[in-house]
Point group: C2
Chain length 378, copies 2
């Protein structure tokens, strides 16, 4: 099938760019001797896992549905990296009974006691990470709360669960453009989580795994001493937020939305397309960055960006393309029915609007070479 | 099943509130003698269509997939209200062959000629509306562009298609809080589209249908002289944007996300839940209104709002509940695993994050009374 024949809007995934992005991070991390545990929350696709990442790869997930789908596709080693609640433990246990080693994360004695109680009841010593908060953005114990970190560790170990280690996510790294600033954030992340590991070990508790992760810090960390594994997700597809932070080039973005021109408001320089926020998502992550890309950067049907044309506004099924304010660029001149691609602000959010990927390859830009399944939900 | 037993996050739909909202708009429109053609883009559910709206109801849709699903569920009269492109006409034609009277919309001579050519080729006189732009927000011909409106009408009628009428959507009404301002917007919408109808009739062209629509203008229009049908969608579920505009009460909001507490940052007054933007969507429609509701207003498990607790930030699978800034409210005191409901900014966007509704009823707030199917995609 050709791109010109595909119904729109559709979600395109360039497999050559995914391969490039995976190879880049693997090469970047190789000298550090750490495990890469990619986060599969962006792809949400058994096909991408099996064919592009590799079904033997240890992975991170953000939902139990991801764990279940990837386990069915062959995953054997999965970290569910959102704070566990007691009612979710039976789904974790079912996966473990089926041969997939799922571990969980938590940040309180209460949660640790619930995991330990479940472990005793089921006779399954569930591995759990203590979540560490390195930047005040979200969940986790701050590393200076040493007594609480030790208390959580003891509740796990003494209660019958397994203290697997410490884990953090530097969400704050999504707000600091530039390699130097991101490298500094990576060092903050490393030092904090390594300190927490030291706290556990000094109390006589085990801490075999020290896990960090975010796409910016994974790509720009200069030292990973004391770290044993790195998690990252959006690096696989990349997006305009990552490009805006200097983490990747626009050309590295593997995900785009194929859309058709549905009309014009010529006096305003507008070209209307059939990709609104239902296709692009409402994510406007670049609004906080030096270059605001609106609801997405517009490319021709082959994927070459028009550098100064963005989706300036979106309603549910309408996107409005216009020259970037101040650019002086001429409006697009494309007839009703013409195709464009739109690069997303945030790959995780845009991909979630679709149930399937159309696979493309930068080497054969007019062709759809296949499809890949995709799922949503919990 | 009880709400306490439901896996989270989950999408709850209160059927008693949907019934109330439908009855309210029907009662509001009854004196005007117009057809209500509800927009089914919010629900995207054959079950909601058949059991709550009524399968005989003429409807509006925003995608051809909606048209196909609702036709399979019994819809016989469907307006596809996004500008048509030539490659989509065969899907429209297949539905018409199967007995569902689908009509389309367009706003250019080029699109009208494509529809007319298709009509001649297929021997199917496809009904089309000319889209009118009443507020500069999106697609359509401005009513003062009389010559173009007539040219589009002639291209349809002379070319072998059917000129069904004129249609507009006052998207600008989502930005003007208060009944008086919305009523003024409704009058602008009415006058503009009725003028366009007059232009067609003065040129000897037919214009049997004059279609307006948006939830705010549908509920607050004071005069619908010359209008024959009203479209509205979000009124069925309502949301925090509509409540913020004064269009409904918070108690009318039928849609909410059920979530579980996953942790705390007690020094900041934060309660973390397992509903992040993947569950709530990235829609922040209330950010532009007098009361910013963050990523959603928090209710207890039975659906009673905590008036001053909102989701202040969201990552993919984490939401952070905190007291509304400046409210002085005390933080929530709920343990890990406790349930809350979160009311959405924008029902269309939040519902789109889920594949199923859990049905609830304000009369029996602890119970899930059933499920309803839901679809996404195009």
């Amino acid at each position: 099938m050709s791109i010109a024949e595909s119904a729109t809007p559709a979600l395109l995934l360039d497999v050559s760019k995914v391969a490039h992005n995976l190879a880049r991070l693997r090469a970047r991390l190789a000298p550090f001797g750490v495990t890469l545990r990619p986060h599969m929350k962006t792809a949400k696709s058994a096909d991408v896992f099996v064919h592009l990442v590799g079904a033997g790869t240890p992975i991170t997930v953000s939902t139990l549905k991801e764990a279940e789908v990837y386990a069915a596709a062959g995953a054997k080693d999965v970290t569910y990296a959102v704070g566990i609640t007691p009612d979710k433990l039976d789904r974790v246990g079912a996966l473990r009974m089926a041969g997939c080693a799922v571990s969980v994360i938590l940040d309180s004695v209460a949660a640790a006691e619930a995991v330990a109680a479940w472990s005793r009841e089921r006779g399954d010593r569930l591995p759990a990470f203590i979540e560490i908060d390195v930047d005040g953005e979200r969940a986790g114990l701050q590393p200076e709360r040493a007594a609480e970190i030790v208390a959580v560790g003891r509740a796990l170990e003494d209660g019958g669960a397994e203290l697997r280690g410490v884990l953090t996510h530097s969400g704050g790294s999504y707000a600091v453009p530039g390699e130097a600033a991101i490298a500094a954030m990576a060092e903050t992340e490393r030092a904090a989580v390594v300190a927490a590991a030291g706290t556990l070990r000094a109390a006589g508790l085990p801490c075999p795994v020290v896990s960090v992760g975010s796409t910016p810090t994974a790509l720009f960390a200069r030292d990973l001493t004391g770290v044993t594994e790195v998690r990252a997700g959006v690096f696989m597809f990349q997006d305009l937020v990552m490009a805006g932070l200097g983490v990747c080039a626009v050309e590295d973005i593997a995900l785009s939305v194929l859309a058709s021109v549905i009309g014009h408001q010529r006096d305003k320089g507008w070209t209307l397309i059939d990709a609104g926020w239902m296709a692009m998502s409402r994510d406007r992550g670049t609004a906080a960055l030096p270059v605001d890309q609106g609801y997405g950067l517009v490319c021709d049907a082959a994927g070459t960006p028009f550098p100064d044309h963005i989706v300036i506004k979106a309603s549910q099924e309408h996107g409005v393309i216009a020259p970037r304010p101040g650019s002086g660029a001429a409006p697009l001149d494309l007839p009703v029915g013409a195709r464009v691609r739109v690069l997303p602000n945030h790959a995780c959010a845009t991909a979630a609007q679709f149930g399937e990927y159309l696979l493309v390859d930068a080497e054969t830009p007019g062709e759809v070479t296949g499809t890949a399944s995709r799922f949503n939900g919990w």
